[in-house]
C-alpha cells in the first residue's frame, strides 16, 4: 500500500528542493571483493535509489486539468484545456478529447487528474484501463511515445500519406494554416469587382446584365485618368458593339460559356488598362480591345497574342470598323454558342489568323497559292538557272531590283555547289579532329557502322523506323561476332549497345534500382507506422501540422522486420521523411533507421 500523505507531508512537498537526478554509470568496480568501501557505496546507492523512487507525486490542484475516461470512445474527455492543448489532443463535437497515450503521459508528468466514473485514478489503474488491448495503443507503443515526449518532441498518431511536394516542405507551406478567406464567403452577385480580380475557384453563374455591368465597371475602375467622356465612350462603345452584332445576327444564343466569362472580364480589364494617354484613340482602342478580348476568349490562348498585336496595329492604322465588318461577313456562317456578348465565332484559329494577316497585308482579298502560275526555280540538274524578275508589288518594301537585269536574272548553280562542298569539307575536318582519339580504339561500332551502312530509303517516319529495326535484326546475323548468338547462351550485350560506357553499364545492370511508381495504399506486408514526430517547435499548429520530421514504427525485439516489410512500409508514402524503427524489448528501446542507398555508377565517357 502506498503511503497516503497527510496534509503536513503534502505541504512539505510543495517546493521541490532537489531536482537532481541520480547519475547513471560513473566509476564502476570490476568485481565484488567484499571490501567495506564497496559495500558502503552500494548501500548509498540503494538508499538514494529507493528515496528517489518513493517520492510522492504532489501537485497543486489548480495546475491539474480534470479529465474523464470514456470507455465507449476509448478517449479522455477534457472540460478545460491548458498549455498542453496546443500540441496534443483534438476537438470533436464541441468536446475536447485526448488519446489514451497522451492522457497517460500527462498523468505521469502531473498535469492531468484522470477520473473514471467520478473517481480519480491512480497510475496503476490508469495503465490498466488505457493500455488495454481494446484501445489501439499497446504497451510498447506507449513506451516509445513517452520516451520521445520526455525528450521534448511533439508526437502525434500517424496521419497517413500527405501530398506535400519537396518545395512546399522547403518553404514551409504545408505547415501554414490556411485562414478562412473572406472572398469565398462573400456573395458573388453583389460585388462584381471582386470576382473579376479573383477568378480562381469562383466559376459562377453571372447573368448577362451583371456581366455587362462588370465589364463597364472594370473598364471604369481601370481608367481613372480618362474622364467622364471616355467612360461614356466606353459604355457607348460596348453597347454599340453589342447592337451591331445582335443586329447582324438576329438570333439569341442562350447558352453561356461560363469558363470563358472570367477570362473575358480579365481580358477586358487587362486590355482596357493597357490603353494609353491619347484620348482620341482611347475610345476606339477600348472598343477594339474588348472586341479582341472577346474573340480571344473563344479562340484559345495561342492566338491571343497574335491577334491582339495585329488588331492594335489595325487601330493604329485607323481601320477598325472596316476590318470588323469584313470579319463578320466572312464568318457569318460559322457561329457557335456565344457568350453573352454575342460576338462572331471563328472556328479554325490558325486559318483565321492567317486570313486576318493576309487581309491586312494585301488588298486583293483572300488569296491562295497557285503553283501553276508561280514558278519555282529548278536548282537540280542545270548549270545556270534563269529567274524571272518578280513584279514590284510582290517585293518587300525596302528592296528593289538592280537595273542591269531587265527581264531575267541568271544564277550560277555550279559555283553555288562548289561553295557548299567546301563548307561541308571544312566541317568534316573539324569533326575528325574531335574524334581523332577514336581511331586508337580497336573497334568502334560507330565507325564501323558509318562505313558499312547503306542509307535508308523511306518515305515517312514509320517506314524509316521499320527499316531501322530490320537492319538491327539482320546485323546480328551478319556481324563478325554473329556466331555468339547461335548457341543457347547468348551475350547480355550486343555490339549495337556499345555506344558509350554508361549505356553499356546500364544494359548490364540486371537488377535495376526501384524508382517507382509507388503504390497508393500501404501494402499488406507493411508494418504499421505508429507516430509522426515533429521537432520541438513553438510554431507547431495542431490544425495543419504539415509533413512530419520523422516517423516512428514500433516493433518488438523478438519480431524484427525483414527486408520486404521494411520496403513495403515506406513505399506508399513516397516522401523523404525518415522512418525510425523503435525496437522495444522489455522496457529497453533502441532506434534504427534504414536508408535507401543508390550505388554510384561509373560516369559515361564519349565513345
Amino acid at each position: 500500500m502506498s503511503a497516503i500523505l497527510s496534509a503536513e507531508e503534502l505541504f512539505r512537498c510543495r517546493k521541490r528542493e532537489n531536482l537532481s537526478v541520480p547519475q547513471r554509470g560513473g566509476a564502476k568496480d570490476y568485481e565484488p571483493d567484499g571490501s567495506w568501501l564497496q559495500d558502503k557505496r552500494l548501500e548509498a546507492f540503494y538508499e538514494e535509489h529507493q528515496s528517489v523512487l518513493a517520492e510522492p507525486r504532489v501537485e497543486k490542484s489548480g495546475s491539474l486539468v480534470k479529465g474523464t475516461w470514456s470507455s465507449e470512445m476509448r478517449l479522455v474527455n477534457l472540460e478545460k484545456t491548458a498549455k498542453f492543448w496546443m500540441k496534443m489532443g483534438f476537438a470533436d463535437q464541441q468536446r475536447n478529447w485526448l488519446h489514451p497515450e497522451e492522457a497517460l503521459f500527462l498523468m505521469e508528468v502531473n498535469c492531468l487528474d484522470l477520473r473514471h466514473q467520478g473517481l480519480s485514478l491512480s497510475l496503476q489503474e490508469a495503465c490498466d484501463l488505457l493500455l488495454h488491448p481494446s484501445c489501439d495503443i499497446s504497451e510498447e507503443e506507449y513506451q516509445v511515445y513517452a520516451h520521445l515526449r520526455r525528450l521534448g518532441f511533439i508526437v502525434i498518431r500517424h496521419a497517413g500519406k500527405l501530398d506535400v511536394t519537396s518545395y512546399e516542405k522547403k518553404i514551409g507551406l504545408d505547415k501554414h494554416a490556411r485562414k478562412k478567406t473572406k472572398k469565398n464567403s462573400k456573395s458573388k452577385t453583389t460585388d462584381c469587382a471582386q470576382t473579376t480580380k479573383c477568378d480562381e475557384g469562383n466559376q459562377t453563374n453571372i447573368s448577362t446584365d451583371t456581366q455587362r455591368e462588370c465589364l463597364r465597371q472594370a473598364v471604369c475602375d481601370r481608367e481613372p485618368v480618362s474622364g467622364k467622356q471616355t467612360e461614356q465612350g466606353a459604355r457607348n462603345g460596348s453597347e454599340t458593339l453589342l447592337n451591331k452584332v445582335t443586329g447582324s445576327k438576329g438570333s439569341n444564343q442562350p447558352a453561356q460559356n461560363k469558363t470563358h466569362s472570367p477570362l473575358l472580364d480579365i481580358e477586358a480589364v487587362h486590355n482596357a488598362s493597357e490603353s494609353t494617354v491619347s484620348e482620341e484613340n482611347a475610345e476606339n482602342r477600348s472598343k477594339a480591345d474588348e472586341f479582341t478580348a472577346q474573340q480571344n476568349s473563344r479562340q484559345g490562348s495561342e492566338t491571343k497574342i497574335e491577334t491582339t498585336v495585329e488588331t492594335t496595329r489595325d487601330t493604329e492604322s485607323g481601320e477598325p470598323p472596316v476590318k470588323k465588318l469584313r470579319v463578320e461577313n466572312q464568318n457569318s456562317k460559322k457561329v457557335r454558342s456565344a457568350s453573352s456578348v454575342r460576338m462572331p465565332s471563328l472556328q479554325d484559329p490558325w486559318s483565321s489568323a492567317i486570313k486576318q494577316s493576309l487581309l491586312h497585308h494585301s488588298s486583293l482579298g483572300l488569296s491562295s497559292w497557285d503553283f501553276s502560275i508561280t514558278p519555282f526555280p529548278d536548282m537540280g540538274g542545270t548549270e545556270t538557272v534563269s529567274l524571272p524578275i518578280p513584279p514590284s508589288h510582290l517585293l518587300p518594301p525596302n528592296t528593289g531590283v538592280d537595273e542591269d537585269y531587265e527581264d531575267v536574272c541568271m544564277f550560277d548553280v555550279e559555283e553555288y555547289r562548289q561553295q557548299q562542298q567546301l563548307q561541308s569539307h571544312r566541317s568534316v575536318l573539324n569533326q575528325e579532329d574531335e574524334y581523332g582519339h577514336l581511331k586508337s580504339l580497336d573497334f568502334s561500332y560507330a565507325e564501323w557502322y558509318q562505313k558499312h551502312s547503306k542509307p535508308i530509303n523511306a518515305k515517312n517516319w514509320r517506314e524509316w523506323k521499320a527499316e531501322l529495326r530490320q537492319r538491327e535484326n539482320s546485323f546480328i546475323a551478319e556481324s563478325p561476332v554473329a556466331h555468339l548468338w547461335r548457341g543457347e547462351v547468348t551475350p547480355l550485350v550486343q555490339p549495337t549497345d556499345a555506344t558509350s560506357t554508361a549505356a553499356l553499364l546500364n544494359k548490364l545492370s540486371v537488377i535495376q534500382p526501384f524508382k517507382g511508381p509507388f503504390p497508393e495504399n500501404p501494402s499488406p506486408d507493411a508494418v504499421r507506422i505508429c507516430f509522426d514526430v515533429y521537432l520541438p517547435n513553438t510554431s507547431f499548429k495542431k490544425s495543419s501540422p504539415g509533413l512530419p520530421d520523422h516517423r516512428v514504427c514500433v516493433v518488438r525485439g523478438d519480431h524484427p522486420p525483414d527486408v520486404m516489410e521494411v520496403h513495403a512500409t515506406t513505399a506508399h508514402l513516397a516522401d523523404d521523411v525518415p522512418l525510425h524503427w523503435a525496437v522495444v524489448n522489455c522496457g529497453e528501446i533502441s532506434f534504427f533507421v534504414f536508408d535507401d542507398l543508390d550505388l554510384p555508377v561509373n560516369p559515361s565517357s564519349v565513345g
Partner: protein, 308 residues
C-alpha cells in the same frame, strides 16, 4: 544492511519470505508484470537480485530520459523464476462494482476536503511566520508610506508621533486577517499505486510463459545463472539475450553476454564470428547457452583469437 545481501544472498533470508503474506505482489497489467511500489522494487533488487527496468516518469524530474521512475517492469523470465521459487505472487484486480465505486468517491471527497482544510491552516501558519520574519521590512515600509502620505497632505508631523502609531499597528499584527488561500493552491497527491483496499485474484493461470522451445531455453538458462548468484538484465544493448553481472548492475560491469540457442540449432559460422568480434570489442565474454538432454544448462564461451 545492504552489505550482507550484495555478495551472497543468504538462503535464510530468502526462505523466510516463503509465507504467503510475505510474498511480493506483482501486478499483471496487460500481460506485463509490473511493480508500483518503491519498497517492493527495492526488496526485489536487494534481496532477490531481480533488477527489472524502470518504465515510468520520475516524479522529481519527469521530462528526462536519464533516470526513469516507477513502475518497474519485470522480464518474463524474472517473473517465472519468482513464481517458481514462491517469492512473489501474481495478482490481478477484480473489477469494482458501482456501490463500491460510489463509496470510494465519498471517501475520496471527504478525505480531500479534510486535507484541504488542514492545508489551509498550514498555509496560514506559514504566512504568519513569513510576516514575523519580515517584520522589520514591513515596519520600514509602513513608516515610509505614512510619511509620504503626510507629506502629500501637507502636514508635517513629528517623528515620535509616527512611530507611536506604527507601534500600535505592530501589536495588532496578530489580528491581521490573512486571506484564505484559494482552492487552486491546494496540494493534491497523485497516486502511483492503487491506494484502495480491493480484492485481488491470483493471476498465475494467466501467466503462460514459457511456451515455445526458445522461451523454455531462455527461462531455464536464466534460472540457472540466477541460482549461481548473478544479476541478470536484458541484453538488447549488446545483441544478446541477457547480460550477467557479478553484482548489482549499478556498481559493476557485466561479465557475460548470454545468448540462448537450442541444442540442435545450427549456427552459421558468420554469426559465430560476429559474436566473437562483438565480445572482444566490448570486453565481455560471449556465452552460448543451451540445455542438454537432461535439461541442464550448458555454456560455451567464445574467445576470438588469431593463429599466427
Amino acid at each position: 544492511m545492504a552489505s550482507e545481501h550484495v555478495l551472497s544472498s543468504t538462503s535464510e533470508n530468502i526462505s523466510a519470505a516463503s509465507e504467503e503474506n510475505e510474498k511480493i505482489a506483482v501486478y499483471l497489467i496487460n500481460g506485463k508484470p509490473k511493480i508500483f511500489n518503491a519498497k517492493d522494487a527495492a526488496t526485489l533488487r536487494e534481496y532477490y537480485r531481480m533488477v527489472g527496468v524502470l518504465v515510468g516518469c520520475l516524479p522529481r524530474n519527469p521530462r528526462q530520459n536519464v533516470h526513469l521512475g516507477l513502475p518497474v517492469q519485470l522480464m518474463p523470465e524474472e517473473l517465472s523464476v519468482l513464481l517458481n521459487k514462491g517469492y512473489a505472487k501474481l495478482l490481478k484486480e477484480k473489477p469494482v462494482g458501482p456501490e463500491e465505486c460510489e463509496q470510494r468517491i465519498r471517501v475520496m471527497e471527504q478525505e480531500r476536503k479534510a486535507n484541504f482544510e488542514a492545508q489551509q491552516q498550514l498555509y496560514r501558519e506559514d504566512r504568519r511566520q513569513e510576516m514575523v520574519k519580515q517584520m522589520s521590512h514591513i515596519m520600514e515600509g509602513k513608516k515610509a508610506k505614512r510619511q509620504r502620505l503626510l507629506q502629500a497632505a501637507g502636514k508635517d508631523t513629528p517623528a515620535e508621533e509616527a512611530t507611536a502609531t506604527i507601534k500600535e499597528e505592530e501589536v495588532c499584527l496578530d489580528k491581521v486577517s490573512i486571506t484564505p488561500t484559494a482552492e487552486k493552491h491546494m496540494l493534491q497527491q497523485l497516486f502511483t499505486e492503487n491506494p484502495w483496499k480491493r480484492e485481488m485474484r491470483n493471476a498465475e493461470e494467466d501467466w503462460t510463459y514459457p511456451t515455445s522451445e526458445a522461451e523454455k531455453v531462455r527461462c531455464a538458462v536464466f534460472q540457472d545463472l540466477w541460482e549461481k548468484q548473478y544479476y541478470l538484465t536484458s541484453g538488447q544493448k549488446f545483441g544478446g539475450d541477457f547480460l550477467a553481472y557479478p553484482g548489482d548492475p549499478s556498481r559493476f560491469h557485466s561479465f557475460y553476454i548470454v545468448m540462448c540457442v537450442g541444442k540442435d540449432q545450427p549456427l552459421p559460422a558468420l554469426d559465430i564470428i560476429s559474436m566473437g568480434r562483438l565480445g572482444s570489442n566490448v570486453r565481455k565474454t560471449v556465452l552460448l547457452a543451451s540445455l542438454d538432454s537432461g535439461g541442464h544448462a550448458q555454456y560455451t564461451s567464445l574467445q576470438w583469437t588469431g593463429m599466427s
